[in-house]
Amino acid sequence: MGLTEDYSERGPDTRSGQAIAYLQENYRTYALIAPVALFLLAVVGYPILQTFRLSLYEAPASSSIKTFVGLQNYAQIFTSDIFYQLLWQTGRWIVVAVALKTILGLLIALHLKGNIKGRKFFRTAFLIPWGIPYAISAVVFRWIEHPQYGYLNSILLKLGLIHERIGILGSPDIAWLGVVVADVWIGMPFMAIIFLAGLQSIPEQLYEAAAVDGAEKWSQFRYITLPQLKDVLFIATLLSTIWTFVSFDVIWTMTGGGPVNTTATLVIWIYKTAFDQGNLGLGAAYSVIGFFILAVFAIIYLRVYTSGGEEL
């Protein structure tokens, strides 16, 4: 008798019945997040869908007439040399900039972790580049690297490292490095602060135990710091990769993608194609390709983030 009563109190056991019961209990939550969800759908979801659609059209910016061309834009991209040049330049840009930001960020964090005088000052000072608008930093670096008035040339000349002034941002061979320097300067503080937080969460006793076990500084770094920092390193590097991939302001302000497109990345090219050349359809097709590349990183990040780093 008791069993029957218990069972009847459990509520509806059909799927729709359960869904209704669930909504009755939680409708307030959904009502509260609905405005934001709808807003995001309107400003993010809709443009994404439109971009996908636009990539199948020939759509000059100068005309309101769009012609459906199927996958022709994609065919054009995959058969063009510039696409592979862009992939190479984007990859080079990401690998070098992220590697430098990671290594320098880690070095700074390791030094800030030590008990140095003025630690608080340096910790704040190192965040300043991150707080300055990217475009402003880019303008400053353009000036620093200027062949006639820039500090960089003067310093290199005085040190005897170069014999005549060089136009860094005007040289197709090294212009990308000039931009990387600015991007690293801007992005490094974030990495340093994230790494510092990670380093501070490693218990000091592990280092003491390792020291007693006979570990030298390098062994402590290799066997304690790195394994303990692994999750933080992975997440920070992944985020930095995504941000460096979509970085636009620095490159555009410093070189506009030149000289002869040598500093252009996929993101720069999307802008150039769509808004400089007015080819919206082709620009959209580049965007869709960029979207899928970025999605790979985003999925990795989400998988790691939602699993709380357990899989690492």
């Binding site: 218990p203 003491e208 135990a209 390792a210 076990d213």
Partner: protein, 367 residues
């Protein structure tokens, strides 16, 4: 195995906080020395100075014949067990235990495996070797930490409150096990604890510290029976010794003790003056008739084997504790008259030092 010698060792933090004051300590080869004292007494700092994890402000530390003041922890051939074990979380038990051996070089993989497995067997953790620390219970982690220390075959074991994170039952069990292992290995061991039961039961000798100063360095029973001063007398023994401010008048063949509820004659030799009288709770006996001290019961704490009586005496209701037979269970408010053997009492001068009464019985260990 080595002797550890501390000569006039001191530690000052940040220029003015004196954590350890001129400690002289000689730990014999193979000895189990327990350093004990309340929080902040400098015992952990002293241990960390021996380990090389803290610098020495003044004095000299020797391991064997070598002065190690400027020798890094890596080069002291010591092993340390930390309070929260400090196991490397990303390594398996096997990797944790073999870490030091691998770093030191000069050992083949087979030799390392053999030593790790032998040590694991000694500590009964062989089946845990492939697990990570977070998969282990506190007791198992403690054994692994111990194993990591043992496997390296160091000159000195340093243990910083290694049992304090364990539950009471496991703590008692590990206490005896640690003693067994130390005896088996014969490695010089310095063991820091704030738990005076551990100090009493484990050490060959105990070093009692307070405010960074060494108060007494003797075998446990000696510290219990002949405390150097009021601090040691109060710290060693549970429940703590009772203290009473009394006036003593020499009376030809003995002394008259008065004050704090006392008005009694004792057959002892002592100069007239003001003293602190110390009597351990277990040295009180319930008198059949009139005893030496009349008290009123406040609380009775039955412990099973015996009862702790929390009592009050004298016009100022001075509190004291007596440990009596479990069959004696008075009610709150009852009057209880206590007596004691004059040979069991301790007198302390106003500066806290113990006064010899000429009636000190030879200790069992001395007899």
């Amino acid at each position: 195995m080595s002797r550890v010698t501390l000569s006039n060792v001191g530690k000052i933090y940040d220029g003015n906080v004196r954590a350890v004051k001129d400690v002289d300590l000689e730990i014999e080869d193979g000895e189990f020395l327990v350093m004990v004292g309340p929080s902040g007494c400098g015992k952990s700092t002293t241990l960390r100075m021996i380990a090389g994890l803290e610098t020495v402000t003044n004095g000299k530390i020797q391991i064997g014949d070598q002065v190690v003041n400027d020798v890094r922890p890596q080069d002291r051939n010591i092993a340390m067990v930390f309070q929260n074990y400090a196991l490397y979380p990303h390594m398996t038990v096997r990797e944790n235990m073999s870490f030091g051996l691998r770093l030191s070089g000069g050992h083949s993989d087979e030799e390392i495996d053999e030593r790790v497995e032998d040590t694991a067997e000694l500590l009964e953790i062989s089946d845990l070797l492939e697990q990570h620390p977070k998969q282990l219970s506190g007791g198992q982690q403690q054994r692994v930490a111990l194993g990591r220390a043992i496997v390296r075959d160091p000159d000195v074991f340093l243990m910083d409150e290694p049992l304090s994170n364990l539950d009471a039952k496991l703590r008692t069990q590990m206490r005896t096990e640690l003693q067994r292992i130390q005896e088996e290995l014969g490695v010089t061991t310095v063991y820091v604890t704030h738990d005076q039961t551990e100090a009493m039961t484990m050490g060959d000798r105990i070093a009692i510290l307070n405010h960074g100063e060494l108060q007494q360095l003797e075998p446990p029973e000696r510290c219990y029976d002949r405390p150097n001063n009021e601090f040691v007398a109060g710290f060693i023994g549970s429940p703590s010794m009772n203290f009473f401010d009394v006036d003593v008048t020499a009376t030809g063949d003995g002394i008259q003790v008065s004050g704090s509820g006392f008005e009694t004659e004792l057959d002892l030799n002592l100069d007239t003056g003001s003293y602190t009288l110390g009597i351990r709770p277990e040295d009180f006996e319930v008198a059949d008739g009139d005893g030496r001290l009349n008290t009123v019961v406040d609380v009775v704490e039955p412990m099973g084997s015996d009862n702790f009586l929390y009592l009050e005496t004298g016009p100022n209701e001075i509190e004291l504790t007596a440990r009596v037979d479990s069959t004696f269970r008075p009610q709150r408010g009852d009057s209880v008259s206590l007596t004691f053997d004059p040979n069991d009492v301790h007198f302390f001068a106003p500066d806290g030092t113990r006064i010899s009464t000429d009636n000190d019985q030879p200790l069992v260990s001395e007899a």
